[in-house]
């Protein structure tokens, strides 16, 4: 099991896609938070976070995603999530996050969908 979080970014047209791979816990989540905040501070309003490589998320990771979504929504933007593994989806369901975030099966769907759901 991975004990680190890898954060990578790739632009698809105008939209930055953040890839989170590995383990998102209290130790590693600040890296993802810094990355997401940097994008928002830089003016991006539409973010896609690809979780296909995410093996683990704790409430510390959920917090980072929620604070990103709050910041973006407050300024008319959106944070979309894509490709949640079943265990990750279960954590989202328990936390009620499935009703807060637009969640897509894969990156193409997230990029093709309208910003507002």
């Amino acid at each position: 099991m991975s004990t680190i979080l890898q954060v990578a970014e790739e632009r698809r047209g105008d939209v930055p896609v953040v890839f989170l791979k590995g383990r998102m816990d209290a130790t590693t989540s600040p890296d993802a938070e810094a990355h997401i905040n940097r994008l928002i501070d830089g003016g991006d309003r539409q973010l896609v976070v690809d979780l296909s490589g995410l093996e683990y998320i704790s409430s510390a990771g959920l917090r980072v995603l929620l604070s990103g979504l709050k910041r973006l929504k407050a300024s008319g933007g959106m944070l979309k999530l894509t490709a949640l593994a079943p265990e990750i989806q279960k954590v989202f369901d328990i936390a009620g996050f499935n009703r807060l975030f637009p969640i897509y099966r894969n990156l193409d769907e997230a990029l093709g969908a309208d910003a507002a759901r």
């Binding site: 099991m1 004990t3 816990d25 209290a26 130790t27 683990y56 704790s58 409430s59 510390a60 959920l62 917090r63 929620l66 604070s67 979504l69 709050k70 929504k73 407050a74 079943p86 265990e87 989806q89 279960k90 954590v91 328990i94 936390a95 009620g96 009703r99 807060l100």
Partner: protein, 150 residues
């Protein structure tokens, strides 16, 4: 195997030791053939409980946390012990999950996850120690190495 196998670990209560704490539990469960899904959920419950202790139980940088993990053929139990401020996580009100993004407080989800993922959770404060015990039973039909389809 009869009875249970217990492993104990005491480390300073810092985030740098979180991996050692969760790793001890996941390692023991793996050795005893618990399904990946159970290991994931135990990992998460231990992470949440220990992160709370590391963040709130002591003056930062002080104190220790002890983990005691017992596996039997039918269950896995983790007890987490600290000598910090008395804190009963089971007395925490469940979070309100009904609101929209704007209303959602940041935080307060750790205990909620623990309660939902574990089969039993008990807390006591005795001898100046917080003792939180969490058990996950091996459900009928859960086989060693079973894939974790939900």
């Amino acid at each position: 195997m009869t009875g249970g196998v217990t492993r104990r670990l005491t480390v300073p209560a810092t985030l740098g030791h979180l991996e050692a704490l969760t790793g001890m539990v996941t390692g023991l469960l793996k050795e005893h053939g618990f399904p990946e899904k159970t290991i994931f959920e135990m990992d998460l419950a231990v992470d949440e409980a220990c992160t709370n202790i590391i963040r709130y139980a002591y003056t930062p940088g002080e104190g220790e946390v002890t983990l005691e993990c017992t596996v039997t053929p039918t269950s896995a139990t983790v007890c987490i012990i600290d000598s910090g401020h008395p804190f009963d996580p089971l007395a925490v009100e469940p979070p309100d999950l009904s609101g929209g993004v704007e209303d959602r407080p940041i935080g307060g989800l750790g205990v909620h996850l623990i309660r939902n993922l574990m089969d039993t959770v008990t807390y006591e404060y005795t001898g100046g120690k917080n003792i939180l015990c969490m058990t996950r039973f091996r459900k009928p039909g859960e086989q060693s190495g079973e894939s974790d389809h939900l």
